[in-house]
Amino acid sequence: MGLNNTYKIVLGSARNAESPDVDSRLSLNLEQNFLQEAEFERIQDINLAELFFQERQKSDIFRPSTKITFLFDNSYVGETNYKPFRDNLYYVNSVSSALAACGSDQADSILWSGYPQYFEFDLIRTDNNVQGYTTPTINPVTQPHIDFETSKANSYNWNFYLSYAYENDSNKFLQCQNLFYPNIAHSWLSGDGIPFVIKNGKYNGHPVIFLYCSLKHNLSVGEYVELSFSYNNNNLFSVDYLGDGSFNSELYVVGLVDVGYLGNTFSDNVTGTLKRVINPDHPIDTRSTYYVRKHKILTNPEDAVLTNSGFELNPFRIEKKYEPKQLTPNQRGRLSVKNNGQTYTLSFSKDINLKDVVDNQLRPVSELFFTQIWIGKFGWTMKPISNNIGLRQGFSFNLQLNNDRPNPWWDSNPQQLNTNSLTNIQLQNFTQGGRTFYYNKPPVVNDVLDGALCEWNDFTFSENELSQIYHKFVFNDSVFNINLGSSANFNSNPYGYYYEPFNKIKVRDFSSYIEEGESQNVVGIPNYAAYSENSLSFRWRDVYTYGYVDETDAGVNFPFLNGVHYPFEITTFRVVPEGSNENQFINVIQDPTIDECE
């Protein structure tokens, strides 16, 4: 479109003799009116499946739920003369205690020993009507140990949350004894990699340098390790063997061919750390990073809805017995329970909106974690160890017993205390009967907790969990002493229970293949893609659409209704007595894979 009118600007004197010559300006008003003509008509067939698919992909709201199989073995016998605890034990010496009390002027001072009942560890307490313990006594009227609120029955012992991994910590100080050679200790930062000790040996007659790691190395033959020390300015070495022939050792032991290295670099008992490198020509691109994952809490304790999962029980037998009134300190007959097996269902009243929420690798969040934290409101466990913290944390390599005693990692002796074994969960307390009882202060939304020790590799674009994190709690020996007849040393490092606080549930999944592309040629490269100097392109894994599961079982397909995703997972929650489940390497020779002479 052009301008049709021609404007002519003339001098004032040219138009009228008396007119002054002045500057002229031209103002142009540009105004358009136009009407859109109907170009065509649209017809759309409404396809229910397609519409469902679109709505499903559009939604970022999740309502996760889980069925929890709670596995707990009540294992520690202790003694107490604190009345509310003493009167509610599962007794193991009721006859001798009853006889002692019978002949004593001070029956109340007699120690009764037994197991704390199952209620003390159960996910939902049901002992809401025990006089003197959870309700006041009637004659005479006395205050109970805890005035039981039935609405809090599912939060006295444990609190339940949802969390996600949102950050990495490469500077976490870690310690352990070598898994294979407990006399050798390792101290390292989480970002340093995997600690190992060198032992020289032979494989098929060839000299081999074995690196004995304390956690799973996630290496394959043909890959490389970058060691924390060098030989002739080289610290990259090819992985030639996995395992030393003993059962399961291929997960922990790396073999390097000894080509005749000189000096003491690879001598026995040399310790160091290693990192996985996939391509030695591009060590920066293909080197793994190591870190402790940090979790952010998404819900508050009151958002959790925990109910019995019908009548479902775990397969282990229920242990209960009748305590005759003659053999109880308060002369009341009752049923006492040592172990039970109820299964539970956990859901949340709060919806989880994951729009624009990214994980610790800045990808869309693909995993949520059912998170359980020991509270111990009744005060059997917990006492301040340092900075008003009592709940401990460690990794799989900290669970090994040391001379049949708990690992030194857990020692609470002030001279030997390792503050890295403390969680960041503060204690609270209350006083009853002249004694102070401690319990953990429940975390709330946006609190941060340490998680698993992980490896990330930009080349494979995947995260690998090397070790779960574990929480450990022990009994408060001033109210319930389990170190019967033991020396004082044991009191600073007693046995306890440990558990995994995080149970994963997938809410999205990444492709099993890796996409690769250059920014100028490919549209839609996600902002979480990693640039590879090796291939001079971006690498990433696609987020699969909901409902699609590939042949490698990657993908998620859970119900979608009400405009909301309903992921569901069955979780097994184990509370393990220390020492019963340590990593052990039985000296089993694997079946030969080549011939009988191997």
Binding site: M1, G2, L3, T6, Y7, K8, I9, V10, L11, A14, D21, D23, S24, R25, L26, L28, L30, Q32, Q36, R42, Q44, I46, L51, E55, R63, I124, T126, N128, D147, F148, E149, T150, S151, A153, E302, V305, S349, L561, N562, G563, V564
Partner: protein, 274 residues
Amino acid sequence: MNVSKYKMVLNPNNLQTNNDKYLDIPIELKWSELGQDDSIDEIQQRTVEEVIGKPTDFDCVRFGNKTYPFTTKTDINYVFNFFDSINGSLSNPTSWINSYEQQGFDINETYFISNSFAKSFFKLDLYDTDDSRTQINYLTLIIPTNLSTKIEIQKPFLPDLKPVKIPKFTLDYLGNKESFFIYWLKNTNYLNLTTFYMSAKFFNAKTGEFIRLTNRPFSSIGSFKFNQSEYFYYKVKLNYSDYTYEIFDYTSQNNEVRKGSSSDPINWYQYVNP
């Protein structure tokens, strides 16, 4: 928008050569409707949504009884009283008795849980209003007779006291949980209804009759012509901030008294139809 201002001046050096001056302004507009397809897609999507509707959240969440003030208790107590039609009098409030005997269930039937007793139940209906002409029943809570409280009484010809059930119910987070929780919409976008009016009926499986119940004995009402909204209902309020509910006795919208604790239970009385 920046506007160019053109200024035309005379040639100051040679006025004789000053001629008319022309300004050619080439204004050319080329445009296309950027995003036209996107807009049409959006209209199409909106139209489809209008035709077949958007996903609506019908998921429910559970509401438990709110803790009573100055206590730690959350139990809810219902006490049902039946009219003693043999010895009772409509003007005497003690004619309404907390016992199943008035409904024809003798002690043996409640003690041994006969079929007719086991199949009887209380039905609590929750309506959106207390106007029986317009109200809609949104929720129903069923309390089976097997949850009844037991009291020890002396049975004829037996030496010991025996536990016999009476129509009184204590429901809580633990123990008797059936009908303690109210399950209602999690999202109020579809139906924003947080106040209900609860009426009660008793189904007597022995006679096959439904017995209606009022919140006061007839002796307090005094007349067969009474305001139904005042005597047939308790008010139930849901609280979405902590997912709890409270039940009120109300004589007017502004006069509400919380009920349900063990010391001040929710009392229901058989409505005696003239």
